[in-house]
Symmetry: C2
Subunit: 693 residues, 2 copies
């Protein structure tokens, strides 16, 4: 084991390096900005950040303590393990993710009380570290599995990965000499010693440490961390892990990363791993590796991604399914996969500058990451289904839920990776909004606030953004501070804004299409550029290969995917029989809600749900429900138990059944579901039974 | 523990009671016939029974030995457990299910070699039984979990249930004093002592023993077995088992059986339990209990059953999903759930006489149970998906597969419940074909063969059935032996035969509809009744609430569900882009195959699979594939890797796109999937990208 002193790289002139960025690649088309250079002053994300700080983070701390996951570290120190071990094998990682969230919060704004809580947790963790740097409460003691004995499921390196990420956050927010940093360094050094070129030639079943080690290298400048990340990235895919029930693709050990065509297996593992591979590629000028991941991203986005940006459709193994297998019913779309997808797309955006990555980040932030926390920040979705058919039982308000069973958000989970992932993402959100390059500033996401950047020549560029986005499409960018030479202000026009976007600069308005608008000028303080994005609600149709939503449309407005919730239709509990009338475009009501014209088409009940009669599923007389309001998908399930659907059927069994047309048969069909009378007459031919049709 | 001698009930005059019937209720509307009273002489089921006897059973015996599951009993005897324990905790049950299959085979036809193998296995099992009757190779020894310590997952009572079932099969085929019977009796007595009124007030996580104990009561006449079954049935649903990840509905411990409205949770558990509850109800004249199960069956069939009869749509917990959540993609439809559904429907049919139960039995036998074994009887499907999108990797021919991952059938599984369940079902199949009552004979399923029955007055009724069903609709029933008084011959007209069925008797032909046709006559030997069932292929439409197959049709012919397999379309690997032209009805080709007119509608590839452009998913020029042959669903995947679908889309993204119409745009769409070039120009608005649309 090495005990070299960590040297931190010397800051560039005029720029505090490694400060406040969740990702800081050496080579990038676009440079990330430190958290401190971007301020959100109001609006959607300001509210979420406030909720994160005032509710989510305290809630997470409360549950980490209450569930005993923090106490595991005390038990380790006091040699009460494994007897007093609580939680799953990966519970240490939740503590580290919470620390990362706290570190970003502290980086944005000093908070002595929070600092005190942070330091207290770090002290408990540090006290549990073994003399050689090993740190894990589940392995390595008498009565526990030996260290590194269960790489497939043990999550030891995964946990250390998050420990390192927390330390990176700490270093990048001005605390490179933090005690946490030292704990992480000792653990990282142990990993390099144990898993190095001549060490255990394997990887962790759950990728995460790859990215963490590259980032640790970026912070410390120590090449051994980068080399260790390289070993982990290159080993995976060569069947170094044991076969498991879900196949080796579950942990991406089926194919080397350079050979794969698409993300597959466990979605969070696949996406964390891809992020690590991009980090490695960009740090080692490995274009082939970068291109391989980008290629997989494109195919995954084109064929394996929900309209919300959600990834992973299988419950069984929390995994990507085959291309176009994207059922709305029981969509898995794990919150953590949304977080991981943002991490990955951000890395690809920095490296390539292509706005498609920012498009997916926007979609995922608004429609997956935002969907997880409840309005009060004290309950979470682990999975994010796109179709809820039954009210189900609400989770008990004061008990951990199993991870994916809840119809409403749950306060905590037995596998509780999502709340801490939401917390660290929201805490560092300002880092994902804008970038800089030698030409100027690029705004990728729109929030009211300020963005500033010290150029290499020392000049500060600063703009103020004023907008009510995503509820309003007007985004006003005012130059507050400029340079004495021309520079470029780049604004992303989202991919969904195919019609009606425009930009006003220098008194001239011109139409704009999806992509990046770059205004280059010798800007003066007070100059303005205004982007107008179209906020007309849009009907969206799925690829016909997505069988599960054939004949349905979704409604989007701006970057928001909308949903229909049963609580908005008086007297309706089920959304199964709903039909949307696509001949009438969705409209925006006076109160700002998007309304769609709906009918309820009562499906006749039969004793067999398949009919050879072409009229067999002709609905009863449709009931005109009038205009029904939609809600942003991320806001659903905040008003009590409800059924919900994102994909709205436009017709029934046959496309030949337009809405509103009279059923051919008399109103009440024969064959309604009949309760057995116990003893039927075998001589009576029950022609009204569908099992019999 | 009781050591009472088992008294076998006295046979009725003129009838060997308890012989050859898988189920023998005391009270029933219809009486089951012993295996020996029904002979299959040729056709579809004769071939499957031959395959079972010549291939499936030897294959099962081979793998039970090879996998070490038989050897576990030797290891128990030789005190080598747990060191030498092989297989999952429930592996004992597979040995018992194989014995049950062998017992039925031996009951149908003496076979000294098979008898020798049977006896040898029984001897190995008997030698492993503990002095107090306990028998399980996974629990109870030093180094193993204590007996009954893991009722949720341990499967101890489940295993004993199958042991009892094998003993029942043995007793009912003329061997009530068999060594196996004695082994089972001792185990059953231990169960009664341990789980009786003053014993452990719980149940097994996997129901099965309930039905076994009622059957054991029927065979032995011992009321304690019935009472123990009653305790198990009544206890379940009162949260007697610990909460598990999938919720208590997983093992039906969420609601008392009398209160539930529908089957839910793990499908095989739910169906085994329901079968046991019906057995109990019918033996104790508990009409309320019977009605409760029948009500659940009806709702489950109406809302939670695949067109094949398959039950259970979730992979994660092998469970029923909510009403109408029946995705074709990754349909679970476990083979064992099909077997269990036949067991349950048979019990309901006997009790009520309603032909809807026989309809579901027919559908399930032809389209689920038959689908599992390969044409050579040496490989099996565990799950029976209705839509296979990718070829996948074929299972290794000489290795157990994980249970549900295979695109082709696998020789064996780590959880290998299905092959033995198929074997015992096929071995006892003749018992499910016909019944008798005081009025005469009832034919429920149609096979070439003979059915005879000695009436209570001692007179023998005997008929010969000649048919090529399910390939031909003509079923000729000839009276071979009659009584000197009028009696009724009842024939089921299947529920699917809504149009064109007819019956010819006494020289007169008249139309017939679904239900039961009863011909009452003073029959003479040589009299004939001929049933004509319509064999025109039928287009079948799903209930519009089954979102997953909206806009699709399936094709059925007779009792067979048909499927389209890619191997039948030269050059086509994917069935994703297939469209069936429903304006041209399916036709029967000269070679007997059913043909449908299909097009391939190449879906343009986009980098985002959702479009706000109404023409966004308009297909390229459809390719007329001409008439494409379908195969019986049960026969698919016998010609190498293939993709397959049962539900055939009739149109694309919009119902407004009829097949064959020219696409509005020029042939090649912009926006085909583009491989990233690594460094995109952020100023170029890529308007041809769909993530940007």
């Amino acid at each position: 084991m090495t005990t070299d002193t960590v040297r931190l790289p010397v800051p560039h002139a005029g720029q505090a390096p490694n400060t406040g960025r969740p990702v800081a690649p050496r080579r990038a088309r676009l440079r990330p900005l430190p958290l401190t250079d971007v301020h959100i002053t109001g609006g959607y994300w300001a509210e979420l950040q406030r909720r994160n700080q005032s509710a989510i983070l305290p809630h997470v701390e409360h549950w980490l303590e209450r569930a005993g996951w923090l106490g595991n570290f005390d038990a380790a120190r006091e040699r009460r393990l494994p007897a007093d071990r609580r939680g799953r094998e990966f519970s240490d990682s939740e503590v580290y993710k919470a620390l990362e969230a706290m570190a970003w919060e502290l980086g944005r704004r000093p908070d002595p009380a929070l600092q005190e809580r942070f330091d207290a947790i770090v002290a408990r963790i540090a006290a549990a570290q073994e003399p050689d740097g090993y740190l894990n409460t589940e392995f390595g003691r008498p009565g526990q599995g030996p260290r590194w004995s269960d790489l497939e499921w043990g999550h030891e390196l995964y946990c250390i990965g998050f420990l390192i990420q927390a330390a990176v956050a700490r270093a990048r927010t001005g605390h490179p000499e933090d005690r946490l940093f030292e704990v992480a360094r000792r653990a990282a050094d142990l990993v390099c010693a144990v898993f190095g070129e001549r060490g255990i030639a394997s990887v962790d079943g759950h990728a995460e440490i790859e990215s963490a080690l590259v980032e640790f290298y970026r912070v410390t400048g120590e090449p051994r961390y980068l080399e260790q990340a390289r070993l982990f990235v290159e080993r995976r895919g060569h069947q170094v892990l044991k076969e498991v029930e879900f196949g080796r693709e579950y942990f991406q050990d089926d194919l080397p990363v350079r050979e794969a065509e698409v993300f597959r297996g466990h979605a969070v593992r696949a996406l964390y791993f891809a992020a690590g591979a991009v980090d490695l590629a960009d740090e080692t000028d490995d274009d082939a590796l970068h291109r391989a991941v980008a290629r997989q991203w494109r195919r995954t986005v084109a064929r394996r991604t929900y309209i919300t940006g959600g990834m992973g459709s299988r419950h069984q193994d929390e995994a990507f399914a085959e291309d176009f297998v994207l059922p709305a019913d029981r969509a898995y779309s794990e919150t953590c996969a949304g977080v991981a997808s943002v991490m990955l797309a951000w890395r690809l955006l920095l490296a390539e500058g292509d706005p498609v990555y920012a498009d997916l980040i926007e979609r995922t932030l608004f429609n997956v990451v935002s969907t997880s926390p409840s309005g009060d920040g004290r309950a979470f979705f682990y999975t994010n289904t796109l179709h809820r058919r039954e009210l189900g039982s609400p989770p008990e308000p004061d008990r951990p839920s199993v991870r994916a069973a809840a119809s409403l958000r749950a306060p905590w989970f037995e596998v509780s990776c999502c709340p801490t992932n939401v917390a660290r993402t929201l805490a560092s959100l300002t880092a994902y909004l804008a970038t800089a390059d030698d030409e100027g500033l690029q705004l990728h996401q729109y929030v009211s606030g300020t963005v500033s950047h010290h150029q290499v020549d020392g000049q500060e560029l600063r703009v103020t953004v004023t907008t009510d986005y995503p509820y309003d499409g007007r985004i006003r960018v005012r130059i507050d501070n400029s340079a004495d030479r021309p520079w470029s202000l780049s604004l992303r026009v989202p991919g969904w804004a195919t019609q009606g976007a425009s930009v006003t600069a220098g008194g001239h308005t011109r139409p704009a299409g999806p992509g990046v608008i770059t205004e280059r000028n010798v800007w003066q303080a007070g100059d303005e550029v205004v982007l107008h994005l179209p906020m007309t609600p849009r009907l969206v149709q799925p690829d016909p290969r997505i069988d599960a939503v054939r004949g349905c449309v979704a409604v989007e407005r701006g970057p928001l995917v909308l949903a229909l919730e049963s609580v908005d239709v008086p007297g309706m509990l089920s959304v199964n029989e709903l039909r949307v009338d696509v001949t009438q475009p969705p409209r925006v009501a006076a109160d700002g809600r998007v309304m769609v014209r709906c009918h309820r088409v009562p499906a006749p009940d039969h004793d067999w749900p398949y009919s050879q009669d072409p009229d067999g599923h002709r609905p009863e007389q449709p009931v005109d429900l009038g205009d029904v309001p939609l809600v942003p998908y991320h806001a659903w399930a905040n008003r009590g138990p409800s059924t919900m659907r994102v994909w709205l059927p436009t017709y029934g069994a046959h496309p030949q059944q337009p809405l509103g047309r009279q059923p051919r048969r008399s109103a009440v069909r024969r064959g309604a579901l009949r309760v057995a009378d116990g003893r039927a007459d075998p001589d009576a031919a029950p022609v009204d039974r569908r099992l019999r049709a």
